[in-house]
């Protein structure tokens, strides 16, 4: 492989990996606190992209619609928890999982009803889609912005988790909910914060996705969500840094395998699952994780 092509793929991989990482953080945080694979998480990403498109095409400036979409997704995430997950905190895990699948399907079909099932063009403002040529490398500006923003967000999340009172409460909840409640922490409020963080990050991931692949449809969250989940497991579920690491590994693998073996292009959506199965077979705790049943941040 030519060096410039290699660099090009490296940049693309970093950008794709950032999106997976952003979405994987939400999976891993919700799993850490509730021990629930939030099936609807991939759809929060779709909601983010669609709300941005909706605001933008309604004449609201792009930056403001992004902000509104993030707030909207966070709101939907919190409502999902309040309506569908909170009443089932003491129920068997399976019930919670089925409800999560129900929510996921509800969101997908609601957006099909509202916006139609056909893919919509997502025309981001020009300053995001402008393309630079550095030597032979082709660089849309978004490809540079996305990894930088992701690193900033990750730093912020780690700051919240390890340097603030709320972060301490989140980490404590991951150990043991009843005890934390006895210590006087409002567990439901902390869980709400986890959902706010998770779904806003998913929305940001979704907006990045829409900017890079400028076509969105209500079912886009399924496959990306599953890949991000695979990334979270790869990195070690429950670990935020692990989720980011898993996201980048998956992003690079996907880009490089397709670049080196173009005939495998049709299977790129299947890589994540092969990864997932391999990880679960040989190192179920992932790269950073400890025990699956008792994973920590």
């Amino acid at each position: 492989m030519d060096f410039s092509i290699f660099l090009q793929q490296l940049v693309n991989g970093a950008s794709l990996g950032s999106m997976y990482a952003l979405i994987a953080i939400g999976y891993t945080m919700v799993y850490g606190v509730l021990r629930l694979i939030n099936f609807a998480h991939g759809d929060f990403m779709m909601v983010g992209a669609f709300l941005t498109l909706f605001g933008y095409s309604a004449g609201i400036p792009f930056e403001l619609s992004v902000l509104l979409a993030i707030v909207g997704s966070a709101f939907i995430g919190v409502m999902t928890d309040k309506i569908a997950y909170k009443p089932l905190r003491d129920a068997p895990k399976i019930s919670l999982l089925i409800t999560a699948i129900g929510i996921s399907f509800f969101l997908e079909n609601l957006f099909i009803v509202l916006f139609g099932a056909t893919p919509k063009a997502f025309n981001a403002p020009e300053y995001l889609t402008k393309v630079f040529h550095v030597g032979e490398i082709y660089l849309p500006i978004s490809v540079i912005i996305i990894p930088i923003v992701t690193v900033l967000i990750l730093t912020f999340i780690l700051y919240i988790l390890y340097k603030t009172k709320y972060g301490m409460a989140i980490r404590a909840l991951a150990f043991d909910i009843p005890t934390v409640k006895l210590m006087g922490v409002d567990a439901d409020r902390i869980i709400m914060i986890v959902f706010i963080i998770g779904s806003s990050l998913a929305a940001i991931g979704g907006i990045f996705y829409a900017v890079s692949y400028p076509s969105i449809d209500p079912l886009m969250g399924i496959i990306v969500g599953l890949k991000a989940f695979a990334a979270a497991v790869l990195g070690g579920i429950g670990s935020v840094t692990g989720a980011v690491l898993g996201g980048f590994i998956l992003g690079f693998t996907e880009i490089f395998v397709v670049a080196m073996f173009p005939e495998l292009g049709g299977y790129k959506d299947a890589f994540a699952f092969f990864f997932l199965i391999l990880v679960l077979l040989f190192r179920p705790t992932g790269i950073m994780g400890e025990d699956l049943e008792r994973s920590r941040f």
Binding site: L36, I37, A84, P87, L88, A91, K93, I94, S95, L97, I98, T99, I101, G102, I103, F105, F106, E108, N109, L110, F111, I112, V113, L114, G116, A117, P218, I222, I223, L226, F229, A230, V233, G266, Y267, D269, A270, A272, F273, L276, I277, L280, L281, P284, L292
Partner: protein, 337 residues
């Protein structure tokens, strides 16, 4: 009333219904009844792994697709395959596979799904709970991706059509009856009790000397066998199959049926299949254009919005479904005591 008499009466009534249904109902209603029958076969076998054995998995669309494709390829004649495969020429294996017999075609579909289930169980049953759900969900996706990317076997995204065979309710009803009886017999057998013990407490079951991996694999393979056959019937009934028919939507519908009927209850699943399928049909008008003033575009999602709300509401307020994990007859037995 002795159980022999009771069972004979049940079977006689079922056989009579299967025999006379074609004369009583019109062709539209027969299509619906056939569809309900096939979904009942799928849901009953899905309930064996999900409800009875308690291994929450999301793979039926994969097994149904395997059964459907095998049956379809076996039933299509060599000439029609050569005509139909537009992207690439069909592989010699596909061309050499042909049988005129629906029974053999269905059986091969079922056996193929069973073999895949055996291979799949080796990795997937090393994990439990939500991990199992997501790995099996991935399997369903991979089957679909495989079908799209291997046009020499499956004709890619265009799928197969004109799968003609003289399907009638004798086939669907007969296989449904067999499935139902087999499932009930499994539940009340030693294996069925082992499956329930795995569901209720896997560690305790292991401690009692039950090989939980073997029991799960058995349930998984049985379930896959009937799902494969059901998939074959589905292919023959609607005569056209494409990879997109076997998306997660199919699994989701089965999940609603199984949860509504009660995880672990076979008779509950039968009742729920009829309720859900008739409900789907009755709510079809919701997907027409111009409902709720949402514009002229047809919105195929509104029915599924309603069904996902139903699923959530059932989980929130009536987690045990219609019959819980009991059979219809258990309710009569209780009152005798």
């Amino acid at each position: 009333m002795g159980s022999l008499v009771r069972n004979s009466i049940f079977i006689a009534v079922a056989v009579a219904f299967i025999y006379f249904a074609g004369d009583v109902f019109g062709s539209y209603k027969m299509f619906l009844i056939n569809t309900i029958g096939i979904y009942a076969i799928l849901a009953l076998s899905y309930n064996l792994i999900n409800g009875v054995t308690g291994q929450f998995s999301l793979e039926p669309n994969g097994f149904v697709a395997i059964g459907a494709y095998f049956t379809a390829i076996l039933l299509l004649s060599t000439e029609s395959k050569i005509d139909m495969y537009a992207l690439v020429d069909p592989s010699p294996i596909v061309l050499s596979m042909h049988t005129g017999s629906l029974a053999i075609a269905l059986l091969v579909g079922g056996v193929a799904a069973t073999i895949i289930a055996l291979l799949l169980s080796l990795p997937v049953f090393r994990v439990r709970g939500d991990y199992l759900a997501i790995v099996t969900l991935g399997f369903g996706f991979i089957i679909r991706i495989f079908a799209i990317n291997n046009p020499e076997f499956t004709n890619g995204a265009m799928g197969l059509n004109d799968i003609s065979s003289s399907i009638n309710f004798y086939w669907v009803g007969g296989i449904l009856l067999i499935t139902f009886i087999v499932m009930l017999n499994i539940i009340y057998s030693k294996y069925g009790r082992a499956m329930k013990s795995v569901r209720d407490d896997e560690d305790a079951a292991t401690a009692m000397g039950i090989n939980t991996f073997k029991i799960k694999t058995l349930a998984f393979m049985t379930s896959a066998f009937f799902e494969g056959i059901g998939g074959g019937l589905l292919a023959v009934l609607i005569t056209t199959i494409t990879p997109d028919q076997f998306s997660f939507l199919l699994t989701f519908q089965l999940l609603i049926i199984v949860v509504l009927g009660g995880l672990g209850s076979m008779s509950g699943t039968l009742i729920a299949t009829i309720l859900v399928m008739v409900g789907m049909e009755a709510l079809r008008f919701l997907d027409e254009p111009n409902i709720l003033g949402l514009g002229n575009e047809a919105h195929p999602g509104l029915r599924m919005v309603i069904f996902s709300v139903i699923l959530i509401v059932v989980m929130l307020f009536a987690r045990r479904g219609l019959l819980g994990d009991r059979e219809l007859l258990d309710f009569f037995k209780k009152s005798k005591k």
